[in-house]
């Protein structure tokens, strides 16, 4: 593609295919290519390498060029983790907890998934692995009650960070989204201003549905960031570009494996490079 000399329709078609294959989505892809044509005209770009650089620059205009860190100044900082079923919420909490305890922070986990089989046991293992404590009730308990207790315990014990796990839920289930709204309200009641971070976990292998997920979850609990998981596979998760553009929600971390260390801060420049390799 980038050894061509002229920018004919085949050239743009091939660029579109790279973006579509990365799950950028057809709407965002067509907008990006349209902007690229303007840039080529305005800046009189001649070489294919210039055009590729221009396209990467357009994407970075949307994603931002600098990593966006977590807001960790509050004590305790309350982080709510949500998303649809199976995307990697519980595992991501384990990884985040380990990051914080390695920095000498006191970390508490709240087992807010009281529904799925062995969800609490799964989080307990991550608590052990990351040297953090866990607040849990019995299976079937009210998730809001567990998370309320988690916030109270975090404040009482002087924890630096409270990570709240929630059950996976499909965003088109009104009753489950109502439950999530209640959890969000309860956290704020327990500690005004909390949650300080609301992270949506998105699976890189998911297609356009991630945008719908982001929109609906954002309405239930205003999102402060995205964690994009399973980037160690072959999917690129390009839908985060549309999420950034339409909802202004930044990707803060990426999951790159199932191990406790497999979490990295999101580096927009490296990410955009990876779409084209």
């Amino acid at each position: 593609l980038f050894t061509r000399q002229n920018f004919d329709e085949d050239f743009f078609a091939e660029l579109e295919e790279i973006l579509i294959a990365a799950d950028v989505g057809i709407e965002t892809t067509l907008e990006l290519v349209e902007k690229l044509r303007d840039k080529i005209r305005e800046e009189k770009l001649k070489a294919p390498e210039q055009v590729l650089a221009a396209l990467k620059s357009l994407i970075l205009d949307i994603l931002g060029r600098d990593p966006v860190p977590l807001q960790l100044e509050h004590k305790p900082t309350v982080i709510l983790v949500l998303g649809v079923n199976g995307v990697g919420k519980t595992t991501t909490i384990g990884k985040l907890a380990a990051r914080f305890t390695a920095e000498g922070k006191k970390v508490l986990l709240a087992a807010g998934d009281t529904f799925r089989a062995a969800a609490i046991e799964q989080l307990e293992i991550w608590a052990q692995r990351s040297h953090s404590d866990i607040i849990k009730h019995q299976q079937g308990a009210d998730p809001s009650a567990v998370i309320f207790d988690g916030v109270a315990a975090a404040a009482a014990r002087g924890a630096d960070v409270l990570l709240c796990d929630t059950a996976g839920r499909l965003h088109n289930k009104a009753n489950l989204m109502a439950e999530l709204k209640k959890v969000y309200r309860v956290v704020d009641k327990a500690l005004p201003g909390a949650p300080h971070e609301v992270l949506l976990v998105l699976d890189a292998t998911t297609g356009q549905n991630s945008l719908a997920q982001a929109k609906v979850f954002n309405e239930a609990a205003p999102l402060t960031g995205v964690v994009l998981t399973k980037l160690d596979g072959t999917a690129k998760g390009g839908i985060v570009i549309a999420v950034a553009r339409q909802l202004k929600i930044p990707v803060k971390f990426v999951g790159v494996g199932e191990g406790i260390d497999d979490l990295q801060p999101f580096d927009p420049v490296a990410y955009v490079e990876s779409i084209f390799t």
Partner: protein, 291 residues
């Protein structure tokens, strides 16, 4: 939706007399967009549109009074044909037990699907044995045990041993206890993880299963083709289970996986409970993908 977009496209084109190939291309662009929005893989879309185009260049469309409706009819027919037939049957062994392996990416819904399949078999008067062969994920064995308890069905586990050994021992127990189905829950894995893919190859070799079902999340995007191809190249896949179809994804991954593996989609998951399990209906899937 696609139907109204095509009606509109042809309404605008009609005014200028007889339809040409160029007009058909304009209409097919709408079909391409609709399928890409539905997450169908772009290469699968290319092939599909080419097939549809061939039929659209005949008189059935060019001389129709309602060409938009004709194109929709052709798209629906070709899509339903590609989806295959409703094949919710499992291939039984000549001598019990019938062995079924469930495989797929992390978080696709395998463990839950094993429980649903066991429930489905129990309701049809079979006696399945569930096998906890995921020795990696925290509390995976416990998860299957809890589901087995809910269904009052036996779960075979040997703690964190070699998954292939666990599965073989389970088959021996099934023979002793007259379980006529053995359902093996395997750990989620990446198609690009050589070591873990080798583990599945060894398991297939050791068990000689009647079925290997690839469990695919209905919201999977373009990657569905790469994943399905890799699993198909290494294993004797016999079927697909599409999960989380109770979401609002258009589910184009179904078309991608069908096109690339040729395997029948046997069942769909429609919820988190163990009874949220149904046979796959190709015509319903086709109209869902078209939106």
């Amino acid at each position: 939706n696609l139907s109204s977009k095509l009606q509109e496209t042809f309404r605008r084109l009609r005014g200028k007399g007889k339809l040409t190939e160029k007009d058909v291309n304009t209409a097919l662009r709408e079909v391409r967009l609709a399928l890409l929005e539905a997450d169908v893989n772009f290469k699968v879309v290319k092939d599909f549109v080419a097939t549809v185009k061939e039929r659209c260049l005949g008189s059935e469309v060019l001389e129709s009074l309602t060409p938009g409706q004709m194109v929709i009819k052709i798209v629906n027919e070709e899509l339903t044909k590609l989806m295959g037939e409703s094949v919710a049957k499992l291939k039984p062994a000549d001598k019990p037990p019938t062995i079924i392996m469930l495989v797929g990416l992390q978080g696709s819904g395998k463990t839950t699907t094993v429980a649903k399949l066991a429930n489905h078999l129990k309701k049809a008067n079979h006696s399945p044995l569930l096998v906890a062969a995921d020795v990696y994920r925290p509390a995976a064995i416990k998860q299957l045990q809890v589901l087995g308890e809910q269904l009052k069905l036996p779960v075979f586990q040997m703690g964190q041993q070699n998954p292939v050994q666990i599965a073989r021992a389970a088959v021996e127990q099934a023979k002793k206890n007259h379980n006529d189905y053995v359902l093996v829950d395997t750990a989620g894995r990446l198609h690009v993880d050589e070591e873990l893919m080798d583990e599945l190859v060894q398991m297939e070799e050791a068990l000689q299963p009647q079925e290997i079902l690839l469990v695919v999340d209905a919201m999977t995007g373009q990657d569905a083709v790469t994943v399905a191809e890799s699993f198909k190249n290494r294993l004797g896949l016999t079927g697909i289970v599409l999960t989380k179809l109770d979401g609002d994804t258009r589910g184009g991954a179904a078309l991608s996986v069908r096109a690339v593996t040729g395997c029948p989609i046997k069942f769909v998951g429609l919820g988190e409970k163990t009874d949220a399990f149904e046979p796959f209906y190709p015509d319903r899937m086709a109209s869902r993908i078209l939106g």
